[in-house]
Symmetry: C2
Subunit: 285 residues, 2 copies
């Protein structure tokens, strides 16, 4: 059996009791470590589980999935994923490959940022499609996220933006020369995301994510030291919410007053929040 | 401290290790039991936790929240919610009330159907807003869900429909006479949901959810005996997926071929699925 086991969001104790029991009994334990991270080291997980962990990088999951699946028809393999196992495309690949090999698959679900974002007080029913924000470079500033935000905005909905993480990436020079030397990991911050949104608004000019649009920046959701900040994108572009992971929600105009009350409590400056709210949001949809 | 603790989706072992430890130590343990249910009895939970559980019905959470919060400034109260604690509006109320009373609040997140629905193989990025489907009566057939589905469909996105549950409801006659006699619980099935969608399409006629639209019905997501069925709404309106809880996903036209491959495996009839797919979905957005 292949068990896909979600680890939740913050630390080693966020695994479910069901998940933990399966990890302890599995023949081999893999950890997918390139689409998200826990806020603790792998050594902590190994100590907590009492099991060695094989780190599965993108290369391994995408091109060596048969290695992960080896023997899973007769014994149990645990494949651990931060958050819920079905957040990222590649695990669909892995399940499809397991099906081809007639290996049965079971999932142990867990918290995902896509539902835990409700901790902002914003209603999950009022979110549109989730959007990814990648790191811009000098020559590559993809703006397809802007189109998705616009679609959500036109029907008054909030947008959750998941921020890029770069783990085990090679520089262009090293890639070109085939040198397996990796850059230090990078995690996009709320401030970086807000700045890229403003830059794209500047370019596109369709009023989707300008300096006066309200948003909520969140850091380390699910951890006791989680942090939230509500304000304009202009304000958030200068904020420091500390250690990763960060995400951002762009508010939709359908925002309910109970959502407003909840979010206002995290406002960078409540007077600014109130002014922008009453001028641009209240009763606008 | 008020701890809002998600219980996940299926049974008592879906609680997180962190959540379980907090439940065992809490002064009082409440269970919110009207917006969702676990697939096991409350007695199982009490035995597993080694703690008595106070069932909090809608009346209690909405009008007696101070009772729940009593003493939470000096000791710990655990408020258990099936799925993730931030799926339903009323818990926002509870947190806002706790804030007024200056009671600190922490959340322990867990799996929610809103992310676990990824187990269908449909990408969470391709979902629009989530929609509720209530039980129609002879005189009350609200069609606002249809407008939401249409909004999602216009931008090619999938729609998750969460199906009505009726727990501790009074009949109109008993309500009018103030008799606290409750009807047996009812859980909407995939077949009932599909039938109501077809009935509304019949009425509205805007091509949002007709007999040929593809959908995936799911039952008991997260349990080992979870079941999925993909097919037209016409097919699903006659299907029996067994015990609750059920949900339904209406497919968007942006469906990726990898999503198609995954879902096709659950098809009620693969030839019907393939024909409808190639005529109405493939390359249509």
């Amino acid at each position: 059996m292949l068990y896909l086991i979600g680890l939740g969001l913050a630390d080693e104790t966020d695994v479910t009791v069901k998940g933990l029991e399966l990890i302890k009994k599995a023949e081999r334990v893999y950890l997918e470590a390139y689409t998200s991270i826990l806020l603790v080291d792998i050594a902590n997980l190994e100590a907590y589980y009492g099991r060695p962990i094989i780190v599965a990088d993108r290369e391994m999951v995408e091109s060596a999935s048969d290695e992960i699946l080896a023997g899973a028809d007769t014994s149990d393999v645990a494949f651990l994923v931060v958050g819920d196992p079905f957040g990222a495309t590649t695990h669909t690949d892995l399940v499809l490959r397991a099906r081809e090999l007639q290996i049965p698959v079971r999932s142990v679900h867990n918290a995902s940022i896509m539902s835990a974002i409700g901790a902002t007080g914003l209603q999950l029913y009022n979110f549109g499609q989730t959007v990814s924000m990648v790191f811009f470079t000098d020559t590559w500033k993809p703006s397809s996220f802007y189109d998705r935000l616009k679609e959500n905005q036109q029907i008054g909905l909030h947008s959750l933006l998941l921020l890029d993480i770069k783990v085990k990436e090679q520089s262009l020079a090293n890639l070109a020369r085939g040198r397996k030397i990796y850059e230090p990991p990078r995690f996009m911050t709320v401030a970086e995301c807000a700045s890229q949104m403003l830059e794209t608004e500047e370019e596109r000019g369709e009023g989707v994510c300008g300096p006066q649009n309200l948003a909520v920046g969140v850091a380390r959701v699910g951890a006791w030291n989680q942090k939230m900040a509500a304000g304009t994108l202009k304000q958030l572009s200068g904020i420091d919410l500390g250690a990763p992971l960060h995400s951002l929600v762009l508010l939709g105009k359908k925002t309910h007053y109970l959502e407003r009350d909840f979010v206002r409590d995290f406002a960078v400056k409540q007077d600014v929040f109130d002014t922008v709210w009453s001028e641009l949001y209240e009763g606008k949809q």
